[in-house]
Amino acid sequence: MTSIGLTPSLRMTYASPIEAELTRLSEDLGHCPDLVARYPMRWLAIQLLEGDALLQAEVERLGGSVASEALAASRMRLETHYGEDLDVAMVDQRYRFVHDLAAQALTRPKTPSLTMSDRVDRIVTNRWLGIPIFLGLMWVVFKLTTDVAAPFVDWIDAVLTGPVSHWIISLLSITGLSGGWLESLLIDGVIAGVGGVLVFIPVLFSLYFALAILEDSGYMARSAFVMDRLMHRLGLHGKSFLPMIVGFGCSVPAIYATRTLENERDRILTGLLVPFMSCSARLPVYVLVAAIFFPTMAGLVIFGLYLTGILVAIGLGILLKHTLFGNELPTPFVIELPPYRLPTLRNIWQQMWERTAAFLQHAWTIILGTSMLIWLLLALPVSGEGGFAETDVDQSAFAAVSGVVTPVFAPLGFGSWETSGALLTGFVAKEVVVSTMIQVYNVPGEEEEEAVATTFGEDLLAIGGSFVSATSDALKAIPSIIGINLAAEEDEQAPDGLTGAIRQGFDASSGGHGALAALAFLVFVLLYTPCMVAVAAARQEFGSRWMWVSIIGQFVIAWLAALIVFQGGRFFL
C-alpha cells in the first residue's frame, strides 16, 4: 500500500431538524472568507448550535451581523423542537452515537471482573458489617492516639517543666529580672498555659496521622457512605454525614461544608449537629482528664466520648426532623468512592504537618492570649493579704469571676471555681480548657526539689535520651492496640502536684465521686459550644438567630447529659 486514507468516512448524523440547520448555517457562514480560512464549517456550526460562547464571539467579530443573525435564526427555528435544551439534545445524540460505536467495537465480559476495591467494598460497605467496621477502626484510632502518643506527651512535659523552665529562670536571673511578676508570667502563665497545650501535640499528631491514613486510603469516603446510609434509614435524609466527617478534625470547616447541602433546612439542621462531632481540639482535654481518673482505660473512655457525640447528633437529628424541621423531601446524592490505595508517606506527612501547623498557629495566638489573661486574673487579688502575683489563687479575680457560675455546675459534680473557670474559657477554644486547668491547679509552694545545677549540654543530652526512651515506649504500646500487652505495667507513680490537685478538686466538688464527676465533665466538654470561631461561622452561615439556638441548645444538652452521667452514676454506684 502506498497511500492511506486518514479522512474519516463516517460522520455522525444528528436528528433531521438539527442536520437541516447545520447545513443551512454552514452555508451561511461559508460566505465569510475569514471564517472559512480558520474553521471547518460543519464543526463550527455544530459548536455554535451547542452554544459555545467563545466561538460565538469569534463569529460576531469575523462574520459581523450577517453571521450572527444566521446563527440566531437557526437557533430560533430549533427552539420549537428543543426549547432551551438544544445543547442537551446534541450532546445526548453524540453520546448515543458513541455508545453504539463502543457496543460494536467492544465485548464486555459477561460477569464483570471484580477489582480489589470492589471486593473490599463488599465487606466494608456491607449493610450489616459497615457500622461495626467503622466503630472498630475508630477504636483503633483512639488506642493509637492515646497509647502511642502518651510517652511523647510525658517527654514534652518533662522538657518544658524541666530544662526549658530552668533556662528561662536562669536567663531571667542573668538579666536580673528573676523572682518577680515577669517570672511568674512566663512560668505560670506562658509555660503552664501554652506549654500545657503543646504537651498534647503528639496526641494530635497521631490523630492526624490516623485521619490521614483513613482519608488517603479511601476509607473515609466509605465511612461517610455507610453512616449516611444509616442516617437515611433512621429518617435523616440528606448527605449530612459528609460535613460531619470533617467535624472530627475541626468544627469550623465542617460548618462551612454544609454549604454543599442543597436544602436550606438540611443545611441548618446539619449545622446544628456538626458541633457534636468531637473535634480534635477537645482531644487534649479528654487525654488529660482520662489519664488522671481512668489511667487503665483512657482509650475506651475517649472512644466512648466520640461515640456519644455521634449518637447525640443522630438522636437530636431525628428529634428535630420530627419536630422543628418537618418532613422534608430527601436529597438524593451520589458519592464518589475512590479506589482503595496504599497511602503515600508524602501525603500523610503533608496532612499531618499542615494540620498540626494550623493547631500550633492557634496556640500562639488564642491560647497564648487567654493564658496571659488568665494569669493576670489569677494574679490579681480581690481579697486576702497577697499582693499582685503573690496572691493565693483562691483569692484571685479569676476565682471570683468563675465562682459566679459555679452553682450551675454543682448538680453535675464539678461545681468548683477551677472547673467552672476552665469551662468558661473553653468557650473561646477547647484547647484553652487544658491550659486553664493547668494554670489554676498549678499548686504553688512545694518548689520542686532545687534541681541539681545542670549545664545546657547536659540538659540537651537528657532531652535526647528521654526522647529515645519515649520512642521505645511508644513502639511497645503499638501491640497493645490489638490487645497484646508487651510493656510490663509500670508501677504507678505517686500522683504529682497537678494530678493530685485535679483529683482532689473533683473529689471535693462531687462529694467523693471524683471519677464520676470527671466523666460528667468530659461529657460536658464534648457537647457544649466548640469554640468562638465555630460560633462566628454558624452566625455567618445561618444567621444570629440560629447561632443562639445552637449555643443555648448545646449548653442545655451538655448540661443534661452531664447531669444524667453524674446523678445517674451516683444512683447506681
Binding site: 455522525m12 471547518p40 459548536q47 453524540r94 460494536q104 467492544l106 465480559p109 464483570p112
Partner: protein
C-alpha cells in the same frame, strides 16, 4: 523544515506523553494523574529521512474548551491543521474516550486512532475489536501499550507510509485567535 506535523490528542491521563516520549526520545512529564501536560510540546521524529514534528497536547474530554488547557488542545486540532491527529484512547475506558473522537471526527481532520492501555483492558476482560472501528470510521486503528513499547513500531510504519504519500496542498495554515 518539517515534512509532516502530527498532533497527539486525547483524554487526560491516557498515555499521550508516554507515547510522545517514546516517539521523540524527549522526557515529558509522565505520571498517573490527569492534567500533567498543560501546554503544547514539540518534538522531532525522523523516519526514512523525513522530518516529522510531533506535538503533545494537553488532555481534553471534549472540544468544547471548558478550560485553558482544553482550549490549547482544541485550537491546535481545529486550526493548527496538523497532517494527522493521532487520537490516543484509553482502551479500558473506551466509551468515554470515544466521545472526544466523535468530536474530532466532526472537524474532518485526518485522523489515526491509537487504542492505548490494551494491557489494562485485557486484564479487565475487555475484548477490543479495532478492525470494527477501523471499517466503521474509515481510518487506521492501532492497538498499543505505550508504557511497554507495544504497538509503537506499527504506528511508526504507518507514519512512514504517510510521510511517503504526497500531501495535498493545505488551504493556508491559519491559527485561531
Amino acid at each position: 523544515m518539517a515534512d509532516l506535523t502530527i498532533a497527539l490528542a486525547g483524554n487526560p491521563n491516557v498515555g499521550k506523553s508516554t507515547l510522545f516520549n517514546a516517539l521523540t526520545g524527549k522526557h515529558q512529564h509522565v505520571g498517573n494523574w490527569p492534567g500533567k501536560t498543560v501546554a503544547k510540546q514539540e518534538g522531532k521524529l525522523i523516519i526514512e529521512g523525513k522530518h516529522l514534528t510531533i506535538i503533545d497536547l494537553p488532555g481534553t474530554y471534549s472540544l468544547s474548551a471548558h478550560s485553558p488547557e482544553e482550549e490549547i488542545a482544541r485550537n491546535f486540532i481545529v486550526c493548527g491543521r496538523p497532517d494527522a491527529v493521532v487520537n490516543v484512547l484509553d482502551a479500558a475506558n473506551l466509551e468515554r474516550n470515544l466521545y472526544l473522537s466523535a468530536q474530532i471526527l466532526e472537524t474532518g481532520a485526518p485522523m489515526i486512532l491509537v487504542l492505548n492501555m490494551t494491557d489494562v483492558a485485557t486484564a479487565r476482560g475487555l475484548q477490543i475489536h479495532p478492525e470494527v472501528l477501523s471499517t466503521r470510521l474509515g481510518i487506521p486503528v492501532i492497538t498499543m501499550a505505550a508504557s511497554r513499547g507495544q504497538g509503537l513500531s506499527e504506528l511508526k510504519r504507518l507514519l512512514a507510509t504517510l510521510a511517503r504519500t504526497p500531501r495535498e496542498a493545505m488551504v493556508g495554515s491559519s491559527v485561531c485567535a
